[in-house]
């Protein structure tokens, strides 16, 4: 029997009726058409499907959608502010942090959760946080550099915002 699911996805409230067996990734990709979230495994072991739920990076392929009822979900489509890329996205581009790009939304969403918690991570901290993310293309080092570059950009952005506030 279908059940009601109320979630906020990328800032928009959504109301759906789903089979209880539906996984969060199915809601995101199939019901909402947000195909930026990818799946690369059937064993919960690649993290390509990572989205942020209430600030936490989680694997959307391994969560019953009903378990996120009432929560906020952020997917890669919700990161950019209007026409402006998020600094993490820009840093991924500028550092060649992806090749095929298939694992990228997962890496970016995990980075978002990481930098919200730890705004200035070391190489080792980035490695620890992103360790579950399989990438067959990059060898990871350029991703790691992008994450740390993103941290710098976010910091710079905040400083500019603060000094602008100060100026006013």
């Amino acid at each position: 029997m279908k059940q009601q699911l109320n979630i906020v996805v990328n800032g928009e409230p959504r109301e759906l009726f789903i089979e209880p067996k539906t996984l969060l990734v199915q809601v995101i990709r199939e019901h909402l058409g947000l195909t930026g979230t990818h799946q690369a495994c059937d064993s919960s072991s690649c993290a390509a499907c990572t989205v942020v739920v209430d600030g936490m990076a989680v694997k959307s392929c391994s969560i019953l959608a009903l378990q996120v009822n009432g929560r906020e979900v952020l997917t890669v489509e919700g990161l950019a502010q209007g026409p402006n890329l998020h600094p993490i996205q820009q840093a991924f581009i500028d550092n060649w942090a992806f090749q095929c790009g298939f694992c990228t939304s997962g890496q970016i969403m995990a980075t978002k959760a990481l930098l919200d918690e730890n705004p200035d991570p070391t190489r080792e901290e980035v490695q620890a946080q992103l360790d579950g993310h399989l990438c067959r293309c990059t060898g990871y080092n350029m991703i790691n550099e992008a994450v740390r570059d993103a941290a710098k950009r976010i910091k710079a952005q905040k400083e500019t915002a603060n000094s602008e506030k100060g100026a006013k």
Partner: protein, 295 residues
């Protein structure tokens, strides 16, 4: 990609009482408890499990805690995620070994949603929390409607992917006693790839006498080297009452590896795992000893 194709009846509890009521009601049905679902959903996708009922306890807020008091020690509720244990200030302060263990469980995404209790209940023989909980002399509370019992950590798993939890029951709390003075604990797992399930893991607790000379108590938990995590009791005896030297540790390691009964797999043979368990006991024991001296 795979999805869950077998329908189930979904029932969610919001409190422990509700959960126990549901369990009582569906005791004789083909049901499964779901906590974070980090292991269960994959099993259902692969149709290894096709339960008729799913009893969702993820929302049972009164079991989502990590608490400490000096008398009773640490209490971890069944719905505490791996991550909340890892980040808990009191764990960091009093049970550093649990934080060290948590940092290498699966990946952060799994730890954010999956529970420590769910990991124990899933009962993979290489489950990481078991060896340190065994070494720490932890107990697990198993509850049914109107009933409650406690089980020592080393007796919780009874076979491959099977625990003492019976139909109508659920595991509700992990209790870790306060550490005695002059005690050091350490845990290590070995896997070729970072963050993988352990090929073998070991946790050793050593308590020294007031002079920090003799070992007055030792506990050893091992993972991945049998159908369940095990406690290496004979090896503990080797350490107890002795001044621990490299030789004593080596002897304890040898005895510990004899206590294992690993199974050959694609990654390594039983012989290798047996030897690895010994190596880990020696290395972990050495660090536990150092910690006990510093404690």
């Amino acid at each position: 990609m795979k999805t869950i194709i077998t329908d189930f009846n979904y029932l969610a509890a919001k409190t422990l009482d509700e959960a126990l009521d549901l369990l009582c009601k569906h005791k004789d049905d083909d049901y499964r408890i779901i906590a974070g679902g980090q292991s269960l959903n994959t099993a259902m996708k692969h149709r290894l499990l096709t339960p008729e009922y799913i009893l969702d306890i993820k929302g049972v807020a009164d079991l989502d805690y990590v608490r400490f008091d000096e008398k009773e020690g640490l209490k971890i509720g069944a719905l505490a995620t791996h991550r909340s244990v890892e980040l808990s200030p009191v764990v960091r302060e009093k049970y550093e070994v649990l934080r060290e263990m948590e940092e290498n469980v699966a990946s952060i995404e799994t730890r954010n949603w999956g529970t420590l209790m769910g990991d124990l209940c899933n009962a993979d023989p290489a489950v990481d929390p078991a060896p340190p909980l065994i070494a720490l002399d932890a107990e697990i509370t198993v509850s049914a409607k109107g009933e409650e019992r406690t089980v020592p950590a080393e007796e919780f798993a009874v076979d491959f992917f099977e625990t003492v939890v019976q139909p109508g029951e659920m595991a509700t709390e992990i209790r870790v006693p306060p550490l005695p003075p002059n005690t050091g604990v350490h845990f290590m797992k070995y896997s070729q790839i970072h963050g993988d399930y352990a090929l073998a893991s070991a946790s050793v607790l050593i308590t020294l006498d007031a002079a920090k000379e003799q070992c007055v108590n030792a506990r050893i938990g091992l993972g991945g080297v049998g159908v369940t995590p095990i406690r290496a009791k004979k090896a503990e005896e080797v350490l107890k009452g002795k001044k621990i030297t490299d030789e004593v540790l080596a002897e304890a390691a040898r005895v510990a590896s004899e206590e294992t009964s690993p199974i050959s797999g694609i990654e390594a043979s039983a012989d290798y795992k047996r030897e690895l368990a010994g190596t880990l006991v020696r290395r972990v024991g050495k660090e536990a000893l150092e910690r006990a001296r510093r404690a």
